[in-house]
Symmetry: C2
């Protein structure tokens, strides 16, 4: 219903800039824009302009000129939304952007809801639902890996993979359903051996997509890393040393907001997210309860735990603390870091090397956070432990919780079909499981969608997207 | 020299948005863009596209696609900078914007300095210097009045006024200088009576422009208002009441940053800026030194002083405090506000009306900041006292300190010429003063400019402008 409205919204980030842009989409987009726009010189009205041409002129009401603008017209269906669409580039001031929006609303446009441009693109068949979701992911992506997954998804890589599975299943389910029409005659149009192969194939495809979610989630949200250890062993210095290189790079980049990088860093395109950890304070060798509780919480949330100790503290003390931490480690990877090596001599180092007891897969580095000794090796190891590299060869990776949940359900349905095949279930029951699998795959691309699903997806978009 | 470079920069405000834009300007702009852009479908390369056409495609290096983008090409001289210019619209993510900039720099573009696009527009004759400065003012303008002055200036209103003066002066000075060539013969090509009229005209024009600076400055930076009074008379409540209406409007507007509105409000298009004032605290009827010092400082900075008192405090007490404040008032306008009228009865109000002594031009309002009684009348009076209204009829208004300083010097030179005319100074001395006046007028429009002047102006621009 709302698709009959002509919607408008600012499309550029809020704040001051050289240029700001407003988008206007819907059946009246060009007519409304013509009412507030005066082309300069001999240029024709927007309604007489060819598609995808830039027209210079002024925007305003009567004699009061609000700004000099560049306007471009896109005619349906050749636009982002699939509708008539007008883009107005003005000076990047919120006073001007607001003024233009007020003029457009006065002429009959309505303010767009979050994600409404992209939602219209979906409803008009310009992209499927997973591609629409990728638009938001693409804008949010802050690392190479997250960006690559989002752009692949937006360009239809994931949709293609799902569509292939769906088509294969559809072919077979149609044959099975055909059998039902001839149920009296006990024929089998669908070769059960072939179907078995297909079901196994679909199962393994869905399983590998489902499994990719852990990686995808880490890429999207960053690998959680906890730095734990007693107070004064140098946790803040280590964190600053790790973040500093990254901050220096990031601060050169126009538009990177500070708060987003406060405690994340990107190494070789992988984002690491540091979990707030309080230092454990020892009072007469009793461990402060609050500090240790927080430490255990941060270990639980982490994928990698950096246990930091002062190299000057001696192996007995360090081993004791290490045991306390190790007892709380489940699947997390543990790296022992002996810090302040610039302050201890060779004999101390040798004694530590001999006496610190490591378990399987645990790693140890002798570092100086202050002098940046061995920090590069630690960083290399972090990237290796993240498991995120050479993504190009691993195919499609899932980053979206909604997709993950749908894939889990699709996987359950196809497993039931596999079991049914083995136990020679009748065709109608097999067909039901395969149809259910197809249903969940279709939910991801939006072949099957409800207003509720759409509402949940697009409410998290920005205005103007 | 640097005009041979091809420069690039983000043009939209930093942060996430549906769309971000990068601009590329210079002799290699189109060639460089073609190296990183692949038009989709059958579309031609950018170098074969007509000017002002939008081309859809992808940007990236080799197989690695960074984003799907819309690119438009503007050929010199028909562009903002007067050079070949390419605008790349991508998704509004700083990762993508940075990625595209890196690709452009790799292909030979250099990052633009602040204001460099506008500086090139000036150097290539697309606008004069006061118009270039108005671009920054336009983007910064947050009120109707500031916006109107900036857009008039950007569209050349101020430049025209100055150019007219300059041309009139030039005609006469040429005639005077011609006399010098015939100095032996004692001829007067320039009619001294006509020249006298012209000089008087120029003097009055320059004076009215110079005088407009106070208004212009108030429009650009807001009318400074101090709210003074003892603690607990309701200063914070009044401030909140005054700001609340405005904040409610502002918060609806996408892109208005909160910190900019913390202590300013816009009434009928006029910005009022509240100066931080500490309450004066009385300890056994002695006035706290720190509080009173701060109050006096805020009065000095203000154009309007709101003296707030508790209506329940009785006229003697209020008159005493009012005298203290009044002693510090110079040219500021004083409004006495008797607050908390909702808590006192009619007899108290009558007694106050009879006994509060006002001086010439001082105003009094009985208000309740809490119940919002009479706040609308106070606001109307503030707008009236600002002197900023019906600007349309007052002609050009100066908002720029550089212009003001140049106008003052131009005014001094033309006054010397006027004096010289009266005392029948020889032509060469008159010519010198008139030339000096023209020089300062020319500095405003940039007919006369030095690298130092340009550097000072454009360093305050954003990157991308």
């Amino acid at each position: 219903m709302h698709r009959k409205d002509t919607i408008c919204a600012p499309a550029t980030a809020p704040g001051k800039g050289a240029i700001g842009m407003i988008r206007l989409s819907g059946p009246e987009a060009i007519t409304i824009a013509d009412k507030v726009f005066a082309a300069s010189g001999k240029a024709k009205k927007l309604s007489h302009q060819p598609s995808r041409t830039l027209v210079y002129g002024t925007i305003g009401s009567g004699q009061a000129i609000l700004d000099e603008v560049l306007v471009s017209v896109f005619r349906e269906p050749h636009s982002y939304t699939g509708e008539d669409l007008v883009e107005i580039s003005c000076h990047g001031s919120s006073y001007i952007l607001t003024g233009i929006l007020k003029l457009l609303v006065k002429q009959g446009a309505v303010m767009a809801k979050p994600g409404e441009f992209t939602q219209r693109a979906f409803l008009n068949g310009k992209m499927d639902l997973s591609q629409a979701e990728a638009v938001a992911d693409l804008i949010a992506a802050g690392s190479e890996a997250a960006h690559r997954i989002a752009i692949d998804q937006m360009r239809g890589g994931f949709s293609e993979a799902l569509e292939q599975l769906r088509e294969d299943l559809l072919k077979f389910v149609s044959l099975i359903e055909l059998e039902l029409d001839f149920s009296e005659e006990d024929v089998e149009f669908a070769d059960r051996a072939e179907l078995g192969k297909l079901v196994t194939h679909v199962q393994s495809k869905i399983a590998s997509l489902t499994e990719s979610f852990q990686t995808g989630n880490a890429i999207k949200n960053g690998i959680p890393v906890a730095i734990v250890g007693e107070t004064n062993v140098g946790k803040s210095t280590l964190l600053n040393t790790l973040l500093r290189d990254d901050k220096a790079i990031v601060s050169e980049i126009h538009g990177t907001t500070r708060d987003a990088i406060e405690d994340t860093m990107t190494l070789s395109g992988v984002v690491f997210r540091f979990i707030d950890t309080a230092g454990i304070r020892h009072t007469e060798d009793a461990i402060e309860t609050l500090g240790i509780e927080r430490t255990y919480t941060s270990i639980r949330k982490a994928q990698i735990v950096l246990f930091l100790a002062d190299a000057g503290d001696g192996p007995e003390h360090i081993n004791k603390r290490l045991d306390e931490i190790r007892n709380r480690i489940a699947s997390q990877k543990l790296i022992v870091l002996l810090n302040k090596t610039d302050k201890v001599g060779k004999p101390v180092m040798e004694r530590l090397k001999k006496n610190i007891r490591l378990k399987d897969q645990e790693l140890i580095f002798f570092i100086s956070a202050k002098k940046k000794t061995n920090i590069d090796k630690l960083e290399e190891k972090l990237v290796e432990l993240s498991g995120i590299k050479n993504l190009g060869n691993e195919g499609v990776i899932i980053t979206n919780m909604r997709h993950y949940e749908a894939l889990v359900k699709a996987g359950e349905a196809i497993s039931r079909a596999a079991d049914g095949l083995k136990s020679k279930l009748p065709g109608d029951l097999l067909a039901q499981d395969i149809r259910e699998c197809m249903h969940y795959l279709g939910e991801i691309t939006g072949r099957i969608s409800t207003n509720e699903i759409l509402g949940n997806i697009f409410k998290n978009f920005c205005i103007g997207k």
